[in-house]
């Protein structure tokens, strides 16, 4: 223990040294002023000390088998509580009545959270199930949002008329991106998708004549309800219920796919591409289906997102956005539906309510990605493959 503390002190000292020029000093050479912010150094040191203690402790646990977390520690799938009918009933009742009780502000936050759940589920198909690391996922989100915005702006299409088009275009975008990258290995694929995402965003930003450039497209309508005029308050509630439907659909589809022939092909591809191909799996088709279906969901919620804000601009679809969605998948657990929901709550809802953390949000996201990879690469909720029952087969 004493040794550990000494070691952590050394590490703390090292980090304080590293941080000194950026964290403590603030120079303005034009004004000729140097500010020393010693308090920052102290706080950094304190954080580093405790983090390094924990880090080293968990690292040693990770190595020694007998000190590991129990295998099913976080396996919420198995939890009786979550599966029990009364719990599910009460949970859905509360969830459904939330917008009626809460002020509009909170409803709107929940809508954002559900948009992220669907995005997470979509990316989960590509990254979690099929094992294709996609760093440009926000591009499909953008395609969805801009399809709706442009259709509305130029042709006066409403939300419902645009939605299928937005979804199809995003899906098409996914497949078209998929075709050239079929042969690429994991890390090259990551870079190409990142490049693709940035190209889409740069085009949106620079093609001013068509996309209105960085200023974006305003005045987008909310989804219609059989021609009934809704005020701002009730249209938000309406959107809330629509997104619940959308999210449930995404969960259902993902679940069904994941335990079907298609899902098995995805996972087989993730586990071993050569073996998968040798077992008769058409890798081209399988990869393209993953890209297409993943992008499809991004397209759908892209339209929802644009409609919710009544506005789109390129700054909503940066690499940042892709990184947030990826960290949802990574934190939740690759391939796990419950994981995505849980991770969205942690990564999207929590920062909304812990406002003092707002400026640290991305810092924490980055740290989470590293920490998860080091300590629990399978994510919070470990995805379990379906169990089959053979009693009636024997």
């Amino acid at each position: 223990m004493k040794l550990r503390i000494i070691h952590s002190l050394i590490i703390t000292f090292w980090f304080m040294l590293l941080c000194f020029p950026l964290v403590v000093l603030k120079i303005d050479y034009l004004e000729k002023s140097i500010r020393f912010r010693w308090i920052n150094l102290f706080l950094t040191g304190l954080c580093v000390f405790f983090i390094s203690l924990l880090w080293r402790y968990f690292l040693s646990r990770r190595r020694k088998y007998f000190l590991r977390l129990p295998e099913h520690f976080f396996d919420l799938h198995q939890s009786r509580l979550i599966r029990s009918k009364p719990f599910l009933f009460i949970f859905s009742l509360v969830f459904l009545s939330l917008p009626l009780i809460l002020p509009n502000y909170h409803t709107s936050i929940l809508i954002t959270a559900m948009i992220y759940v669907v995005l997470g589920l979509g990316l989960n198909i590509v990254v979690g199930l099929a094992g294709l690391l996609d760093l440009g996922y926000a591009a499909f989100f953008a395609i969805g949002g801009y399809s709706f915005a442009l259709l509305n702006h130029y042709f006066g299409f409403g939300f419902w008329a645009s939605l299928p088009i937005a979804a199809s275009l995003a899906c098409l975008g996914g497949v078209l991106l998929g075709i050239p990258v079929l042969r690429l290995r994991g890390d090259y694929l990551a870079i190409v998708t990142l490049g693709f995402g940035e190209i889409i965003r740069l085009i949106l930003e620079n093609w001013e004549a068509f996309t209105k450039g960085p200023s974006g497209i305003p005045d987008l309508p909310k989804p219609g309800l059989f021609g009934i005029q809704l005020d701002f308050y009730s249209s938000t509630i309406y959107l809330y219920y629509l997104l619940i439907l959308c999210m449930l659909a995404a969960i259902l589809v993902t679940k069904r796919l994941s335990y079907s022939k298609t899902g098995r092909a995805w996972v087989a591809l993730r586990e071993d591409e050569i073996a998968a191909q040798s077992m008769g799996i058409d890798t081209t088709k399988t990869k393209l289906t993953a890209f297409g279906i993943g992008a499809f969901w991004a397209g759908i919620v892209g339209a929802f997102f644009a409609s919710k804000n009544s506005f789109v601009d390129p700054s909503s679809f940066t690499f940042h956005e892709s990184a947030i969605i990826l960290s949802i998948v990574v934190l939740g657990g690759m391939g796990s539906i419950l994981g995505v929901i849980l991770a969205t709550m942690i990564l999207v809802l929590l920062p909304e309510y812990l406002r003092f953390l707002e400026s640290y949000r991305m810092l924490i996201f980055g740290a989470i990605m590293v920490i998860m990879m080091v300590f629990r690469p399978e994510g919070l909720v470990k995805s379990v493959r379906q169990q089959y029952d053979f009693k009636n087969l024997k």
Binding site: R256, K261, R264, A268, S278, I293, Q387
Partner: protein, 266 residues
């Protein structure tokens, strides 16, 4: 035996840079035949398998697979998954299971190329999809019973002991309904009891599915016990072919093996 071979390979060659990994190798495997491919390390046996199964594209020669209609079909240049669909399945020397899938699912993946439903059927859960899915489960479970793994069906494949992983690879390959099964060192790392079980399994598979087997193996006892025909390769070329008895007395084979410790049974 009929005159029509299941697999006939005509003078295939494979070059890696300046290295001739395979040099005009020809061989034929007939229905219901158990053939063995032997040779010292580096003779090009696995490269040969990889060429036949489409993982490598041979730089010369051609490969024909005879369909049930006895019409030969050229398979060189096809993608591995299409070759598997034409009736050729394989296992790997260094086991390549889908580790994080369950044992049963590994076999179910093998059924992939014999089913027709697509992802839309799965989303809507059509009755034909459900029926097909149920069929796949039953068929896979049967295969697991055949190789004796029915008790571990729901385990993760990576949690199986080594010898069982090899059996699972065989079950997975059988699920593709091959007419020719290629086994790449199926007995590697097995103890004598496990090896005996393995050769019973291979015989059983031939009887049950009426298929031909081509195996690469270093365990000469196993090869001599079960094979009808033996091909010998050395340095990328086929140097001999014949019954186990003929091979044992072939001077070229003995020469190729000189200096290597192999217990050729007399």
């Amino acid at each position: 035996m009929t005159n029509h071979p299941v697999l006939s390979v005509h003078k295939i060659s494979m070059r890696f840079g300046g290295l001739n990994a395979l040099n005009k190798v020809s061989l034929q495997v007939f229905p219901r035949e158990i053939a063995a491919l032997i040779g010292p390390n580096g003779a090009g046996k696995t490269t040969f398998f990889n060429c036949v199964t489409g993982i490598y594209k041979p730089s010369g020669g051609y490969i024909e697979l005879n369909g049930p209609d006895l019409r030969p079909k050229r398979i060189n240049g096809l993608k591995p998954n299409l070759i598997t669909r034409s009736g050729l399945a394989r296992t790997f020397q260094n086991i390549r299971l889908f580790e994080n899938m369950s044992v049963l699912e590994n076999v179910m993946v093998g059924c992939h190329c014999r089913t027709t439903s697509n992802f839309l059927n799965a989303i809507i859960q059509t009755s034909s999809f459900k029926k097909e899915e149920q069929g796949v489960i039953e068929k896979s479970y049967e295969l697991l019973k055949l190789v004796g793994l029915q008790g571990s069906a729901n385990l993760s494949a990576k949690n199986l002991p080594y010898a069982e992983q090899r059996s699972l690879e065989i079950a997975r390959a059988l699920a593709t309904e091959p007419r020719l099964l290629l086994l790449d060192e199926p007995a590697a790392g097995m103890n004598p009891q496990e090896t005996t079980k393995l050769d019973q399994l291979i015989m059983k598979i031939r009887e049950r599915f009426n298929l031909a087997v081509l195996l690469i193996e270093h365990d000469m006892k196993l090869v001599m016990r079960i094979s009808d025909k033996v091909f010998v390769m050395a340095q990328g070329e086929k140097i001999a072919e014949g019954t186990p008895g003929e091979i044992q007395n072939n001077p070229r084979v003995i020469k190729a093996y000189l200096g290597e410790e192999v217990d050729v049974v007399s």
